[in-house]
C-alpha cells in the first residue's frame, strides 16, 4: 500500500494535554488528602487545597471539549474523514490509468520534483516504488516536465500528448492537475507546505493505431491492387472483343486471370492480417505455445510442396522445453512465412535447415550462426533482467542477399532490385508480418546472409515460465 492513513493530528490521544491535565490534577488531590490524614494540624488547609485543585482541574478539563479554541479545526475535517481515507486510497490504487502525485520543492531545482505517491498502474509502468522517488528518473519527456512545472508554480492544468519509444511504441496523453498545497509530505525530515500536482496518463495507443491502420490499409491496398486489376480488366476486354471465338486463347487468358485474382485475394488477406497484428502490437499475448511442436506442424504442412520442388528439409527440433509465451496462430504464421521464403529461394536439390534452440539469453540469441556473413538485428526487444528465449532458425542455401539490402528487408512490398520473381509470387508482406508478430511477442528477429551462400533467419520468443511455478505463484501471493 502506498499511502499510510495517518492519525488525525487533532484526535484525542493517550499523551494529549487533556489526559495529562486530568491525571496530574487527580494526583495532586490525592497527595493533598494523604497529607491531610498524616498531618491533622494542617488538615483543614490541605482539604481546602485539594478542593481548589480539583475544581481547577475540572475547569481546565471542561474547556477543550466545549471551548472555542479547538472547535473550528475539528469541524474543518469531516467526522468520517478517517474512514474515507482508506476508500480514497483504494480508489486511487485501483485506477486503470497510471496516476502519480508529484511534489514541487524549489522552483529552480529539478531534483525537487519528486513522486510522493504512485498507484498500482503507475508502478507497473515505471520503475518507481510506492514511496516515490525522483520524477526525472521516471519521465524525461520535456513537454511533460514543463507542464508539471507550470502546474506546480503557476497552478495551470494542462494536457500533453507524447510518445514513449522502445520496441513497443505507445502514445500517451498526460493530464496535469494542480492540487492544493499540503503540509506533511516530509521529504528527508523537512516538513513544509509543498505544491502538489496530480499527473494522470491515458493510453491512447489504440486510437492512434486505428487511425493509422486505416490510412495505411487504404494506401497499400489501392496501390498494390491497381496493377492486377488493370491486367484483369485488360483481359476481360480482350475476351469480350477479338478473342471471343478463340477457345485456345480464352483458356490461356482465363488461367492468367485466375492467377491474378488469386494474388489479389492473397494480398488482401495478408494486408488484413498485417493490420490486425499491428493493431494489437502493444498488447502482449498471454498464451502458451510449444514452439518445437508448432514448427513441426508447419514442416508437415509444407512437406508436399517441398517434395514437389525437390528441396530437402532438415529439422532439428528436439522435444519439450520449448514453451513460449505467445499466440499459437501467430507463431505458426512466423514459422510458416520463414519456411515459405526459404523454399521460394531454394533451387531443386537444395536444402533447408530448421533448428530450435532453447533457453538462450538475449545476447546469445544475437550470436552469429553463419560463417562469413553479415548479421543484422531486425527486431530488438527491450532488455529484461534474466529473460530467456527459445529461438527458431531457418536457413536456406539460395542465392543470399548483399548486406546493403538487409536493413530494408522487413519493409512492406520491398523488393530487392533485379530479383527474379519466383513461380509463386509473394505478396511482399511476409517478412513485414513476421516482424510485427515478433514485436508483439516481445521477441527478437535477426537475419544473416552473404551473397552466394544463402540466408538464415532467427526468430526468438520469450520462454514461458515452468508450469509448476505458475501454479504455485498465486498461492504464495495469498499467504
Amino acid at each position: 500500500m502506498s499511502y499510510e492513513p495517518q492519525q488525525s493530528p487533532v484526535a484525542p490521544m493517550a499523551t494529549s494535554r487533556l489526559w495529562t491535565a486530568g491525571a496530574s490534577g487527580g494526583l495532586a488531590v490525592i497527595i493533598l488528602l494523604v497529607l491531610a490524614v498524616m498531618q491533622p494540624a494542617v488538615a483543614g488547609w490541605m482539604v481546602m487545597g485539594a478542593v481548589a485543585v480539583a475544581f481547577t482541574t475540572w475547569f481546565v478539563n471542561r474547556r477543550p471539549v466545549s471551548g472555542a479554541a479547538y472547535a473550528p479545526l475539528v469541524s474543518e475535517i469531516p467526522a468520517e474523514a478517517t474512514g474515507d481515507t482508506g476508500l480514497m486510497t483504494d480508489v486511487f490504487e485501483a485506477s486503470f490509468d497510471p496516476m502519480m502525485i508529484i511534489s514541487g520543492g524549489e522552483a529552480d531545482d529539478i531534483a525537487g520534483r519528486r513522486i510522493v505517491l504512485a498507484n498500482a498502474a503507475a508502478r507497473e509502468l515505471f520503475p518507481v516504488s510506492a514511496a516515490g522517488g525522483l520524477l526525472v528518473a521516471v519521465i524525461r519527456e520535456p513537454t511533460v516536465l514543463e507542464a508539471i512545472d507550470d502546474a506546480l508554480f503557476t497552478g495551470e492544468a494542462s494536457r500533453v500528448d507524447y510518445i514513449s519509444g522502445g520496441a513497443n511504441e505507445r502514445h500517451w496523453r498526460a493530464q496535469v492537475h494542480p492540487l492544493p498545497e499540503r503540509e506533511g509530505f516530509a521529504y528527508e525530515g523537512q516538513v513544509r507546505p509543498e505544491a502538489l500536482v496530480l499527473l494522470t496518463l491515458k493510453d491512447e495507443t489504440d486510437l492512434r493505431r486505428i487511425e493509422r491502420m486505416r490510412v495505411d490499409f487504404l494506401a497499400n491496398a489501392s496501390h498494390e491492387l491497381r496493377t492486377p486489376l488493370a491486367s484483369l480488366s485488360g483481359f476481360i476486354e480482350t475476351l469480350k472483343g477479338h478473342a471471343k471465338d478463340d477457345p485456345k486463347a480464352r483458356d490461356r487468358f482465363l488461367d492468367i486471370m485466375a492467377t491474378q485474382a488469386d494474388r489479389m485475394s492473397r494480398l488482401v488477406a495478408d494486408l488484413l492480417s498485417l493490420s490486425r497484428i499491428e493493431l494489437n502490437e502493444h498488447i502482449a499475448p498471454d498464451g502458451r505455445v510449444d514452439l518445437s511442436r508448432a514448427t513441426s506442424d508447419v514442416l508437415d504442412a509444407v512437406s508436399v510442396l517441398s517434395r514437389e520442388r525437390q528441396v530437402t528439409v532438415e529439422a532439428d527440433l528436439g522435444i519439450g522445453g520449448a514453451d513460449v509465451i505467445g499466440e499459437r496462430d501467430e507463431i505458426v504464421q512466423v514459422v510458416q512465412n520463414l519456411v515459405d521464403n526459404a523454399l521460394k529461394y531454394s533451387s531443386a536439390g537444395g536444402k533447408i535447415e530448421v533448428t530450435i534452440e532453447r533457453g538462450r539469453t538475449l545476447d546469445e540469441t544475437f550470436q552469429s550462426r553463419m560463417a562469413d556473413s553479415t548479421r543484422l538485428s531486425l527486431v530488438t526487444p527491450d532488455r529484461e533482467q534474466g529473460a530467456r528465449y527459445v529461438v527458431v532458425t531457418v536457413r536456406d542455401h539460395g542465392p543470399g542477399m548483399a548486406r546493403e539490402y538487409l536493413p530494408r528487408l522487413t519493409e512492406r512490398f520491398y523488393r530487392i532490385e533485379g530479383q527474379k520473381s519466383g513461380e509463386r509470387q509473394g505478396t511482399g508482406l511476409g517478412l513485414a508480418i513476421v516482424r510485427h508478430i515478433v514485436i508483439r511477442h516481445r521477441g527478437a528477429l535477426s537475419v544473416e546472409s552473404a551473397v552466394g551462400s544463402g540466408a538464415l533467419f532467427a526468430a526468438a520468443f520469450p520462454l514461458a515460465p515452468d508450469r509448476k511455478s505458475v501454479a504455485t505463484q498465486p498461492i504464495e501471493e495469498i499467504f
Binding site: 526525472v136 528518473a137 524525461r140 532488455r383 542477399m401
Partner: protein, 248 residues
C-alpha cells in the same frame, strides 16, 4: 548510494544527476522531433527543433558550472568524483547530440521545399528510430545505474553502421540513376551521417556510464563490422542486375 554526512552535498550531487537526466530527455526529444520533421515534411516542427537547441546549450552550461562548483567546494572523491565528471561528460555528449539534431532539422527545412522522396526519407526514419532507441536505452541505463544495459548499447553499435552503409549505397544508386536528385540526396546523406554520429555519442555515454558505476574503462575495441563508407575508400555499389532474393 552512499550516505553523506553533509546533507547539502548529497543534495547537490542528486541535483546534478537530475539535471543531466532532464537534459537527456530534451536531447532525446530533439532527435525524435528532427526525424519526425524529415519524415512528415513538417516545417513548423523543424523550426521548433532549431529554436529549442538554445535550451540545451543553456543546460549544458549550467551543468558544467554546477559540477565545477561542486568539485571546488566539496572536493568529491571516488564514486562521487566519477559521478561529477560523468555529468560533465554526458552534458557535452548530449549538447553535441542536440547540435546534430538541429542540423538534421535545418536540412529538413531545405528538403521540404523540394519534391517528396518518401522511399529515402523512410530509410532515414528507420535509422533515426534505431538511433533514438539507443539514446533512450543508454539514458535509462544512466538513470537506473545499470551497467548491463549500457554495455548492450555499447556492443551493438555496429547495427547503426550497417544501416548507415546500406543507406549510403541506396543514396548513391539514386543519385546515379537521376542526377536531379543529387541536392536532396546529399542532404539526406549528411542526415544519415549525423544520425551515425548521434549513435556514436550514445556509445560514448555508455562508456561514461560504465566508468561511473564500475570505476573501470570499457575494455577492448568497440565492435565494428566494416569501415563505414565516406571514411575509407568505399566500394562502389553495383548497378547491374543482381540476383539476390527479395524479402517476401
Amino acid at each position: 548510494m552512499n550516505q553523506h554526512t553533509v546533507k547539502a552535498y548529497g543534495d547537490e550531487l542528486n541535483q546534478l544527476t537530475a539535471e543531466v537526466v532532464r537534459m537527456g530527455g530534451l536531447a532525446e526529444a530533439q532527435v525524435a522531433d528532427a526525424i519526425e520533421s524529415v519524415a512528415r515534411r513538417d516545417v513548423a516542427l523543424a523550426r521548433a527543433v532549431i529554436e529549442r537547441d538554445l535550451k540545451l546549450d543553456t543546460l549544458h552550461y549550467d551543468i558544467e558550472k554546477k559540477a565545477i562548483r561542486l568539485i571546488a567546494l566539496r572536493q568529491p572523491v571516488a564514486s562521487d568524483l566519477r559521478r561529477t565528471l560523468g555529468a560533465i561528460k554526458l552534458a557535452s555528449d548530449l549538447e553535441r547530440t542536440g547540435d546534430l539534431a538541429k542540423n538534421i532539422a535545418k536540412r529538413a527545412l531545405i528538403l521540404a521545399e523540394g519534391e517528396p522522396m518518401q522511399l529515402l526519407t523512410r530509410s532515414i526514419e528507420r535509422m533515426g528510430r534505431l538511433v533514438s532507441n539507443r539514446l533512450r536505452d543508454v539514458l535509462d541505463a544512466y538513470t537506473a545505474s545499470e551497467v548491463e544495459r549500457a554495455m548492450s548499447v555499447w556492443q551493438t553499435d555496429d547495427e547503426v553502421d550497417e544501416h548507415y552503409n546500406a543507406l549510403f549505397r541506396e543514396l548513391l544508386t539514386y543519385m546515379m540513376g537521376d542526377p536531379r536528385t543529387i541536392t536532396a540526396c546529399t542532404h539526406l546523406l549528411f542526415m544519415a551521417k549525423n544520425l551515425e554520429r548521434i549513435g556514436d555519442h550514445a556509445t560514448n555515454i555508455a562508456e561514461t556510464v560504465h566508468y561511473e558505476i564500475t570505476g573501470e574503462d570499457m575494455m577492448g575495441e568497440r565492435p565494428r563490422a566494416v569501415p563505414a563508407p565516406g571514411e575509407d575508400a568505399a566500394p562502389t555499389p553495383t548497378l547491374t542486375g543482381n540476383d539476390a532474393p527479395s524479402a517476401d
